[in-house]
Amino acid sequence: MPQITLKINGTDHTLDVHPDMPLLWALRDKLNLTGTKYSCGIGECGSCTVLVDGRPVKSCLRTAERMDGREITTIEGISPDASHPVQRAWHEEDVPQCGYCQGGQILAAVALLEENPTPDDAAIDEAMKDNLCRCGTYVRIRKAIKRAAEYAADDGGDV
């Protein structure tokens, strides 16, 4: 089995993986990083979203081997204490219902705001439509993204 090194949330992890094992399962079952979720395995739902070099990537569709050497951010890594402006906004708007999809939603929102600090509704819909929410928290996701944009602006523009 190939040995690879994944740089996750700033830390290097060296592990043996089957060449076909998706990054999602390397994270969940080899590294016990269970914040990244499984829901479909075919790239339709976005629950498995991670950031690779800052861009949202569906970790069920990429093998871990292909991610060797890349900078990966998972939901566990965007702040040490849920203090990221997006997390704060998500809490203030009380976005989650069951919460299962929210890690992926937050990472997609982080990536959006990085690229577009003041997105309008159309830009939000476009960026977030890869992330399904069965409980229907979409109305709050939109509100929270706008609130996060305000927090980020107050914090000096850093998302």
Partner: protein, 712 residues
């Protein structure tokens, strides 16, 4: 532990205990420090003032883990910021711990208030005793008792030792808060208690459990419901990377329980699932049920009389006299739950025989019973934990996946996590059942509905309707129309069905409220006015409260500006319903563009009595609207005895770009609060269909909408 420090036990009507002896001695974190005082199972107050409230029901996003402690905190007069919540495992001392039927709030309302109020009573009594004053001269706020005449204060934490010596109050002596006007915390917008963990990806779901030496399993069942494995290439499985075990589980005939299948166990989930791709099984199947065949049977049955369930007056004579007859037929297919977190269960069987289970389950007591009866393990050896559930919607009331995991653990004698793929999940759901409705209404010359005949064609097994397929003979418009008949025919099915968010109601409200609209239009009457008239002039016995139902219609209509001029391609549609004790009306506003429509806004009016958590309540309404809109585009087709749509590419859940604006209007009152998980769902689809009719003249009588050529 000084047992004299514990309060006397009182048993409430539901079986809940005001106090618990030994409730602090359990291993799951509820430790008894010397001066920690536990007045009851719900509340623990530590000497440092920390308030811990135990949440006994599972939370799947319906918000009880936040709302129920809010009730206790309200009655205990403490600040929410000082409250910590612990999730209880399954423990019979808590009484019913299930999620379902929107029952959590109405069932828990009394017990929760008694817990908080009783604890405060004892604290008040302790302060009064220490000051040697009457308790009536004391008041409480923010965790502090004040002697009002003198201004002296004591924190709750400083009163624990004394309070523990007082006799428990009689429940009847407790004055329980009940009116929104008296609430300080209840009714406000409170973010969820688990938010921090959810937002930072902490391992709070059952599928996140990681135990030392844990293996992972997949369980392959026959795609045809009820099929049995005759043989399989198990030896090939054992050669594949990471695989440790592969075996046939004979299972039982209980399609709600352990079904036959092949277990493949490996060091990671992916390796187990990867091996499964090369699994070859010789299945023995007993049927080839199909949606197409059911439709043919339904068409044949429609020509027959069915079995009369109820007949008021004389429907046929009334039709003969009617000024106008309106007839229409409605249909909807099966649909899967597709919770975001697929089914899973982690099982740990100890050498001692103790079995621990972690799973997203709506009914831990039923789970324990099923595992016990199937595997012969005594119930008191089975410990069921209640991690956060990644969506329930009724699916997690069926505990098949938990007994599968337990059976696998018993065989491999190691901790094992069974995880279903999305395909497993959608191929082995307990679907919302399909049905056919044939309506006939008679109008008098004033345009009033004076006769109503309904032939309901539904699914059953052995002549009895299956789960979710039952229609009460007292459902409206029974009691609203003097000549009323309900007839029923049953199509035998092998498809497993189960409760799906507002079972029965979520589907047949689409039929009823669509047909009411057709009758109103045929009578030349406004759809709102038609419904109000039905409610206000009902002379028979009704399941719903006509005043409360009418109230919701009026509020929704007013907020939507019902009756305003709408541009040619725009329309409003209205519907109401009553289920699970809640009255709800919805108005939908749509814009048509050819055969495409956009749902611009939904105005909801909800009467469930007082609101506990304003955030949670809005969540349920917003979520139900989006869920219902989503479901207008979904179906599960059965062919060759198996479900055809097995992943999200064939089951397109709504995405954010189609989410409408949603306005929630809660009609609060001094009634007791009832639940909100289900009531806001049923009226949404018919409100949308009615709006589409108003905007375009196209009448939608079938789900999914695309069967009528209409798309979102």
């Amino acid at each position: 532990m000084d047992r004299r420090a514990f309060l006397k036990t009182s048993l409430l009507a539901s079986g809940a205990l005001l106090i618990g002896v030994g409730s602090c001695a359990r291993e799951d974190g509820f430790e008894m420090a010397e001066e920690t005082w536990v007045p009851n199972l719900y509340v623990r107050i530590d000497p440092d003032g920390k308030i811990t409230i135990v949440s006994k029901n599972p939370d799947a996003g319906q918000g009880v883990k936040t709302a129920f402690p809010m009730v206790v905190a309200e009655c205990l007069e403490v600040d929410w910021k000082d409250v910590h919540v612990e999730q209880a495992p399954a423990d019979d001392r808590y009484g019913r711990q299930a999620l379902g039927g929107s029952r959590g709030t109405p069932d828990g309302w009394d017990d929760l208030r008694v817990a908080g109020t009783g604890a405060l009573y004892l604290l008040m009594g302790a302060a009064a005793q220490e000051w040697d004053v009457p308790a009536a001269e004391c008041s409480a706020a923010s965790g502090v008792i004040t002697h009002d005449p003198s201004g002296r204060t004591r924190t709750y934490a400083s009163l624990l030792v004394t309070a523990a010596t007082l006799p428990a109050p009689e429940i009847a002596d407790l004055k329980l808060k009940s009116r929104p006007a008296d609430f300080k915390l209840l009714g406000t917008f409170v973010p969820g208690i688990d938010n921090r963990e959810i937002l930072s990806g902490q391992p709070i779901y059952a599928s996140d459990i990681r135990l030392d030496g844990m293996l992972y399993a997949v369980y392959q069942k026959c795609p045809v419901f009820g099929g049995k494995a005759k043989s399989a290439n198990l030896d090939d499985m054992l050669k594949l990377p990471g695989v440790t075990h592969a075996f046939i589980v004979p299972g039982t005939d209980d399609y709600n329980g352990l079904q036959p299948g092949i277990a493949i166990v490996a060091e990671t989930f992916w390796e187990a699932n990867n091996a499964r791709e090369q699994l070859r099984v010789d299945w023995e199947t007993t049927h080839e049920d199909s949606s197409e065949d059911y439709a043919k049977q339904a068409a044949t049955l429609a020509g027959g009389p069915g079995e009369t369930q109820r007949h008021d007056g004389d429907v046929d004579a009334a039709f003969a006299e009617a000024a106008k007859i309106v007839e229409a037929s409605y249909h909807y297919p099966f649909v899967a739950h597709a919770t975001m977190e697929p089914m899973n269960c982690t099982a740990l069987l100890h050498e001692s025989g103790k079995l621990e289970l972690w799973s997203p389950s709506q009914n831990p007591q039923n789970q324990r019973k099923l595992v016990s009866e199937t595997l012969g393990i005594p119930e008191d050896q089975i410990h069921v934990y209640q991690p956060r559930i990644g969506g329930a919607f009724g699916r997690r009331s069926r505990l098949d996946f938990t007994v599968e995991a337990a059976a696998i653990a018993v065989e491999v004698r190691k901790p094992v996590q069974l995880l279903w793929t999305r395909e497993d999940d959608m191929a082995h759901d307990f679907y919302r059942p399909a049905a056919w409705h044939h309506f006939k209404a008679g109008l008098d010359d004033a345009g009033r509905m004076m006769a109503f005949d309904h032939h309901f064609i539904t699914l059953g097994m052995n002549g009895e309707t299956v789960s979710g397929a039952n229609l009460s003979k007292n459902h409206y418009p029974a009691g609203m129309v003097s000549n009323f008949r309900l007839r029923q025919s049953i199509i035998e099915t092998n498809v497993p069905t189960g409760p799906w968010r507002a079972p029965g109601h979520s589907a047949y409200c689409f039929a009823y409220q669509g047909f009411f609209d057709e009758v109103a239009v045929a009578a030349g009457r406004d759809p709102l006015e038609f419904r109000l008239d039905l409610l206000e002039n009902a002379s028979g016995k009704l399941q719903l409260d006509p005043e409360r139902a009418a109230g919701t219609l009026r509020v929704a209509a007013e907020k939507a500006g019902w009756g305003r001029d709408m541009k040619e391609n725009r329309g409003l549609g209205i519907a109401f319903h009553f289920d699970h004790r809640g009255h709800v009306a919805q108005v939908a506003e749509v814009t048509m563009d050819g055969t495409r429509y956009s749902l611009d806004k939904v105005y909801a009016a909800v009467d469930i009595g007082p609101i506990l958590n304003m955030s949670g309540a809005k969540h349920q309404v917003e979520g139900a609207v989006i869920d219902a809109l989503s479901t207008t585009r979904l179906e599960t087709t059965i062919a060759g005895g198996a479900a055809q749509q097995v992943n999200f590419d064939q089951h397109p859940i709504l995405r954010i770009d189609k989410a409408p604006d949603i306005e929630c209007n809660f009609i609060q009152s001094d009634n007791s609060p009832t639940g909100l998980g289900e009531p806001p769902f049923p009226p949404v689809a018919p409100a949308i269909a009615n709006a589409i009719f108003a905007a375009s003249g196209t009448r939608i009588r079938e789900l999914p909408f695309q069967r009528s050529g209409i798309s979102l």
